[in-house]
Amino acid sequence: MQIAIIEDEKDLNLSIKNILEKEGYRVDSFFDGESVFESNKIYDLYLIDINIPKIDGLKLIDLLPNKKIIISSNITDENIEIAYKKGAVDFIKKPFFKPELLYKIKNLFPQYVRIKDFEIDLEKLILKRDIEVPLLKIEVDLLLLFKNREFVAITEIEDITQKSGGALYAFLSRLRKKTGLEFKNQKGEGYRIG
């Protein structure tokens, strides 16, 4: 998932970028309202400050596609109303804390599930890592077992895939070839993904 930060305060911009990248998002920083168009890239989410040079943040809402979150300390009722009317999906008041930011972003994209260093688009059944790999529904269900967990028991894998023994092994090795993900069996714990 690609995120653009349009914020003229460099330190703040980079702080946000840093946090989001740690979470696995692909992030680009822009320091005024114009440069975001020069990149010729379409982002899934734009974080926009209202008071930025060249093009005003509120105007940017009209010009940019996809989802937009306003981050601003300038939170008059009027600004909030204008922002929502123009199509901003959320409003974060500065100063804000990491959990609040992450919570709001995750809430906006429930179809993107992060597992380890990859992301799965539940709608399009695509695994995003360095490249995009289309997946089968059964493969997505298997990978979702690893969400927020280190190990998954063999029985759980057997249940969800309805396969065992040689058939399961063949299924996993096919998946490994397709995605580059390694499935390692650790005795007494179960399978680990890496």
Partner: protein
């Protein structure tokens, strides 16, 4: 202010009433003096008239024999020209001769020609020889005349003696002067009555009638006089209507005399009217002054009230008029103060602006709980300050807020502070929707939670929301409960003082008409009844 107004009004009223009563008294006193004066004039005139009558009697006594002599002289020259006889007798004498029907046919006194003396027939027949009457008032000329008479051969001869000697005239002049000096005297009348012969006559001895009374008039006078006589016998003297009467004995002998003065009050009335006019004018003038004062006073009060309002608003006062000096110096002072406040505010706003970004960066980059708690406290102070600075431009847009969820979010936000301060928050929240501006609500809730954390003596904090009554409860005690209460209800508490947190809470509850209650009972409970702003 109204009190002063009322007092002023009452004072004017009392003043006017006093003036009015005094004037009425003056008016009455004048009336009394006039009444006294009236009587004085009456008796003075009466005395002068009596003097005049006695002068006549005096002369009558002296002239009586001369008159009889003159009568005898005429009797013996009846066939001669009377005017020739009169020349011989003197100017004072007049001669009358009747025919057999008692009608005067030959006389030197032209007024009496053809006048019938039949009314006195009995008198003429009552004596033989020459009789002489007392002086009688003669209306046509106002002269007093004494008549001698004799009845021979069916004809009556009368000689009249006119009392107009210089001495008598002098007395008469005195009466005239009196009348002249006292314009009130209109007419003076004398009535002579003789009850034994049932005869009365009316006499005006100042103004000549230039004719004889008719018989009818004489009859009327007679009836009038006797009626008057009956009244005067009961009460003497009488003052009635515009006339004064007194009954006395007849200075000429038998019978009575009634003295009457007709008064003309128009002169007196004019005088009284003049006083009355002065009185009315004075009252109107005072009333006018009163109204002018009243209006001026009202203007001053209006100005003061208007001015006080402006002072309260701490605003400039647009005013042109009498009190410009005060207003101008006030305006200058207020302008200076505004400038001072503005410059301080500008500085504060600058500082606030400079703090914004560092705070935002810090908030994003701190990891450990103590730092997060500290920065959240810093943010809270920042938000309070920003709210405080923005207060005058306060956001009025309200929206429907799920209070339960809102408070849960805020408690979650305070989580780091709560943990660091080692507090436990129990929250029992029912559903409640209120209509409020969200930043107002945030300051309101945050400050209440923050206060509870700050002042709790144990680790216990309880937040309940039931029937839209929100309570923040912590252990501990408040010593100056009244002071806090007072702070809560003093309108200007937002302007500083007790602690910015309480000030903000108080301004918000005043703004939204939230009922506040402070319960202290080993626990401190801030209770807010939000029923007034529940969603409609």
């Amino acid at each position: 202010m109204k009190k002063v107004f009322f007092f002023f009004f009452i004072t004017i009223l009392i003043f006017l009433t006093t003036i009015f009563i005094l004037s009425i008294n003056l008016y009455n006193a004048d009336k009394k003096i006039f009444n006294l004066q009236k009587e004085v004039i009456f008796y003075k005139t009466l005395q002068a008239s009596k003097d005049f009558l006695f002068a006549i009697i005096n002369e009558y006594q002296q002239q009586k024999t001369n008159i009889i002599k003159a009568h005898k002289f005429v009797l013996s020259n009846l066939d001669k020209n009377f005017s020739v006889l009169k020349k011989q007798l003197g100017e004072n004498y007049e001669i009358f001769l009747t025919n057999k029907d008692f009608i005067i046919t030959k006389t030197t006194f032209q007024y009496d020609k053809n006048f019938s003396l039949a009314f006195a027939k009995n008198y003429f027949l009552s004596h033989k020889g020459i009789g002489i009457s007392k002086p009688i008032c003669e209306m046509a000329t106002t002269n007093f005349i004494a008549f001698s008479d004799s009845y021979q051969k069916g004809k009556v001869l009368q000689i009249g003696y006119i009392f107009n000697s210089p001495k008598i005239e002098e007395f008469k002049k005195k009466i005239f002067n009196l009348k002249k000096q006292n314009k009130m005297i209109k007419d003076i009348y004398l009535y002579f009555l003789y009850p034994n012969i049932n005869f009365a006559s009316k006499c005006n001895f100042l103004v000549p009638l230039h004719r004889k009374y008719t018989l009818k008039e004489m009859n009327e006078n007679q009836i009038f006089t006797f009626k008057l006589f009956d009244e005067l016998k009961k009460q003497n003297p009488i003052f009635k209507n515009n006339s004064m009467y007194i009954l006395s004995s007849n200075p000429f002998g038998d019978g009575y005399m009634i003295f009457k003065i007709d008064m003309d009050f128009s002169v007196y009335q004019a005088k009284l009217d003049k006083i009355k006019n002065i009185l009315i004018f004075t009252i109107l003038f005072l009333l006018f002054i009163g109204i002018v004062l009243f209006l001026y006073f009202k203007k001053v009060i209006n100005f003061i009230e208007e001015f006080a309002k402006q002072i309260q608003n701490e605003d400039k006062f647009e005013y042109k008029g009498e009190f410009e000096k005060i207003v101008n110096s006030y305006n200058q002072t207020i302008e200076k103060l505004h400038k001072l406040i503005d410059s301080k505010k500008e500085f504060l706003e600058f500082v606030m602006h400079e703090l914004k970004t560092p705070l935002a960066i810090l908030s994003l980059n701190v990891e450990n709980e103590i730092s997060i708690s500290a920065i959240k406290k810093l943010n809270m102070a920042y938000d309070d300050m920003a709210y405080f600075l923005e207060f005058n431009k306060s956001n009025t847009k309200t929206k429907k807020v799920n209070l339960k969820k809102f408070i849960e979010d805020r408690i979650f936000y305070f989580d780091d502070i709560i943990k660091i301060e080692k507090k436990i928050v129990y929250a029992k929240l029912d559903e409640c929707c209120i209509d409020i501006n969200e930043s107002d609500l945030e300051r309101f809730v945050d400050n209440n939670i923050s206060n509870a954390i700050k002042y709790s003596t144990t680790n216990f904090i309880k937040i309940t929301l039931k029937d839209c009554v929100l309570r923040f409860e912590n252990d501990g005690n408040i010593e100056n409960k009244d002071k806090i209460f007072e702070k809560f209800y003093r309108e200007d508490s937002i302007k500083g003082g007790f602690g910015i947190g309480l000030s903000i809470i108080s301004s918000i509850i005043l703004n939204y008409n939230i009922t506040f209650n402070l319960i202290t009972n080993n626990k401190v409970i801030f209770e807010y009844d939000l029923k007034g702003i529940v969603c409609k």
